[in-house]
């Protein structure tokens, strides 16, 4: 009886103390003077530009680091009513595809242009995941200037990674699909009829113009991510693969059966050699190539159909497979180009491969088998070593340039720092919550700036003031300059960031375009001054040649338009000063507004649907008399014959 009482008392004491045993959580993670390290005083500038993919918003955001302030949203694959992207006549062709006008996409990854494996930050590339495309953003204007559609691809996820001199940007297909003429096939004939294409897109070294150089017909795996070799491994590209089981249904289970999938090593210099020898095969598939012209301020879309295809089954030595546990997501090459890190998202270790060993294994024909004639290297022959017990769900790895790697762990919601040579885990920090990509400025290049690291998370929950069921995605900034990673800042982001890159602001800050010189405006309907502002009728089309300058439209009174007319407002902003855009909006427009930069011409099409007086006005608070910047347009009945009239003043 007494013993029992003692036991009971002991149990009660244990219960009382139990909450104290719970490990400390998120709230205690912040230490030291974090605020001063991210404080950018009013009027001061951030140290880094951070170009962040917008994921399902189809855009890029520009963020300053270390403050985490959003500086701009760059419209890329999705229409952007706030500045008319995809609504103005000039920008509509940018979103043209072989499927016609596609107003949305899913932008996952960023690649900032490099020279000699270092950021030159001339262009930012982004991938369109859903309707496969690659976009190029000019970093002097932060404007999307080119979009190339990728034929024979579906789910352009393994993209837009680049080689060290931006020779190529790649596009590996996530979904393998039938290509060529025979596309109406039963899904269960996946293994025979589906192809996994890898596209190499050349980038003009002066102008950045993209061109589909060649496509490799790889086995029907799912291609996930990629990274170019650099320095010693320049000339090679590494693609992670999953679903090497080649399942086409319930991939959750069926694509997770094998112990190892592959990192596919591509010798693109070898591919170039085969092309020179005329070994490429010309095939056809329609794809759009859209280019923005900064002088005419308009885009043109060309539908192309020629593709140069290389078959690595016949053309030897282009492709080698490196076995990698298990469903690898990220594949990343370290700043020296020697190590290739595969992050098997279902694996218990992180394998680190050696480029030198890979070359030796190829030379010694250290193969464990072949896939359609393409050699599979022996895991042990290529392996530098494995990081033991790194965490759960490794996804991506970045580098600090001091011999350390940082791997994001989705399942255990942390970033793990480890040494590439010794493979020892050095430090770990929690993320809030479930980090996807992580990013170190210059992290994927040969010259990382190992000062900060940002974790882009997939789950937000309680991090900020709640906003109903739909939340902003969270990001955390860490100081990684010391031995231990230190959390500095937690900030919400735009869209759903996946990968991002950052580079020193000094690279492009002084190269920014402030306005477009009017004398260089070659838009066919541009006005160089107020004198030619006019309205002209051509059949049922009415062209309004309109100017804006603080604080008036010319003309601002327009009559003679009929119901059903196609009215084109060609608005030229005559301002020649930085930060004086004018907006244009008219009542009832089924499109959006125009936001016209100084010296630019943009066109809004409007079809009036009823008789009446329609006001239009400037939407960008331009001056003290912005609210006076307005006008009226009179719409007369269809079939009537009103005289075209226009004027300003008097």
């Amino acid at each position: 009886m007494k013993t029992r009482l003692w036991l009971l008392a002991g149990a009660m004491v244990a219960i009382a103390f139990a909450p104290g045993c719970k490990p400390k959580g998120a709230q205690s993670a912040l230490s030291g003077d974090a605020a001063s390290k991210v404080y950018v005083a009013p009027g001061e500038h951030d140290e880094f530009y951070n170009i962040v993919s917008g994921g399902f918003n189809g855009q890029m955001s520009v963020v300053g680091l270390p403050s985490g302030r959003v500086l701009k949203i760059v419209p890329v694959f999705s229409v952007h009513p706030e500045n008319g992207w995809g609504f103005s006549e000039e920008s509509k062709p940018m979103l043209n595809t072989a499927h016609g006008f596609v107003p949305w996409d899913d932008l996952h990854h960023i690649a900032i242009s490099t020279t000699n494996a270092e950021h030159d930050a001339r262009w930012a590339f982004g991938n369109g995941n859903n309707t496969p495309r690659i976009a190029r953003v000019d970093l002097t204007t932060f404007k999307t200037v080119e979009i190339l559609e990728i034929p024979n691809s579906a789910g352009n996820h393994s993209s837009p990674f680049i080689t060290e001199n931006t020779e190529y940007v790649v596009a590996g297909t996530r979904f393998s699909v039938p290509t060529g003429d025979n596309r109406d096939v039963p899904i269960e004939t996946y293994k025979e009829n589906f192809k996994g294409t890898i596209s190499f897109i050349s980038v003009d070294k002066d102008h950045g113009t993209m061109d589909l150089a060649f496509q490799l017909e790889a086995p029907p795996f799912n291609f996930d991510l990629a990274r170019a070799g650099k320095k010693k491994s320049h000339g090679w590209f590494f693609f992670s693969t999953y679903n090497t089981e080649m399942a086409h249904t319930l991939l959750e289970v069926n694509a997770s059966q094998k112990d190892k999938d592959f990192i596919m090593a591509v010798n693109w210099k070898k591919a170039e050699q085969y092309i020179k020898e005329g070994k490429g095969k010309k095939t056809k598939a329609k794809y759009a190539h859209n280019i923005w012209d900064e002088n005419t301020h308009m885009a043109t879309s060309t539908i192309k159909e020629d593709i140069l295809t290389l078959d690595p089954k016949e053309l030897k030595d282009i492709i080698y497979f490196i076995p990698c546990p298990k469903s690898p997501h990220g594949t990343d090459t370290d700043p020296t180009g020697e190590y290739i890190i595969g992050s098997g998202k279902l694996a218990a270790i992180i394998p680190v491969f050696s480029f030198t060993k890979m070359l030796k294994a190829i030379e010694n024909q250290d193969f464990e088998g072949t896939i359609d004639g393409m050699p599979v290297l022996k895991y042990e022959s290529v392996l530098h070593g494995e990081v033991e017990k790194p965490g759960l769900g490794p996804l991506h790895t970045e580098f600090d340039g001091r011999g350390n790697a940082y791997t994001s762990m989705f399942v255990s919601s942390e970033v793990v720092k480890w040494n590439i040579e010794t493979l020892q885990v050095l430090d770990r920090v929690p993320t809030y919550y479930s980090v996807g990509h992580l990013m170190i400025p210059g992290g994927p290049t040969g010259k990382p700036h190992g000062k900060y690291m940002v974790a882009y998370n997939k789950i937000t929950k309680d991090r900020y003031l709640p906003t109903g069921p739909e939340l902003a995605h969270s990001a955390q900034l860490y100081d990684i300059s010391g031995d231990k990673m230190q959390l500095l800042l937690d900030f919400p982001t735009i869209g759903e960031p996946h990968y991002a890159e950052a580079f020193p602001a000094s690279l492009i800050k002084d190269k920014q375009v402030k306005f477009y010189p009017l004398e260089k405006n070659n838009h066919p309907r541009a006005l160089k001054g107020i004198n030619n502002a006019r309205v002209e009728r051509e059949g049922n089309k009415v062209h309004v040649y309109m100017t804006t300058i603080r604080s008036n439209f010319r003309p601002d009174n327009i009559e003679g338009v009929r119901v059903g007319d196609e009215v084109y407002f060609h608005v030229t902003n005559l301002e020649q000063d930085w930060d004086v855009p004018h907006g244009f909006a008219i009542k009832g427009a089924n499109t959006a507004e125009l936001l016209v930069m100084p010296g630019e011409t943009a066109t809004l099409k409007w079809v009036p649907d009823r008789v009446g007086i329609f006001p239009f006005y400037c939407t960008d608070f331009c001056s003290a008399l912005h609210q006076e910047m307005q006008g009226y347009l009179r719409v007369s009945p269809a079939g009537s014959n009103p005289e075209i009239k226009f004027y300003t003043g008097e």
Binding site: I549, R550, E575, Q576, D577, S623, A624, L625, E628
Partner: protein, 204 residues
Amino acid sequence: MVMKKIDSSNRTLVLIAALLMITAYFTPLWQISLWAPQYPEGLNMKIWIDRLSGDVDIINGVNHYIGMKHIGVEMFPEFTYLIYVFAFIIGFGVLAALIARRWAVYTFFSMISLLGVGVLVDMYLWGYDYGHNLDPTAAIKVPGMAYQPPLLGYKELLNFLAYSGPDTGGWIIAFSGILMLIVVSRCFLEDRKAKLQNPYMKVQ
């Protein structure tokens, strides 16, 4: 009567003073700058011997709200004749250095001085008209407010801080003037000395 010429060092200075003024054709003579909260980087207008440059269009855009006139080349008839005035003065300066007569040197000095004073007076009159003679239909009218820019130095005008002063060419001309002041002073002192030694000598 003795015709005493100026010595060679003075001649050189006169020649330098005259030749330096040629830079007036290649450099801006005057500048006007404006700063406002919206223009932290400032707006700058440069006045050359025969034209304007800089942010003239932007200044016009800003100033039209308060009814100031549109600044343009046609506003300054000076641009049509200043090139000849300068050519004449420079030519005379070179001539003065060649003939080395005192009267010529004194005349050259007077010309530069008059040019300086003339330009300032002209600038003031233009500034007065520009700042006071406003369009009665202007959008913004501040009772009793005039916008005459400063002649030299800084002045606050509504939300703007204005500055007016010489630019490169203006400073070079000023330097020419100083060189000539030195020459003239040296001649003057020399004459006084000569006069003290020989009160009957007449210098020319």
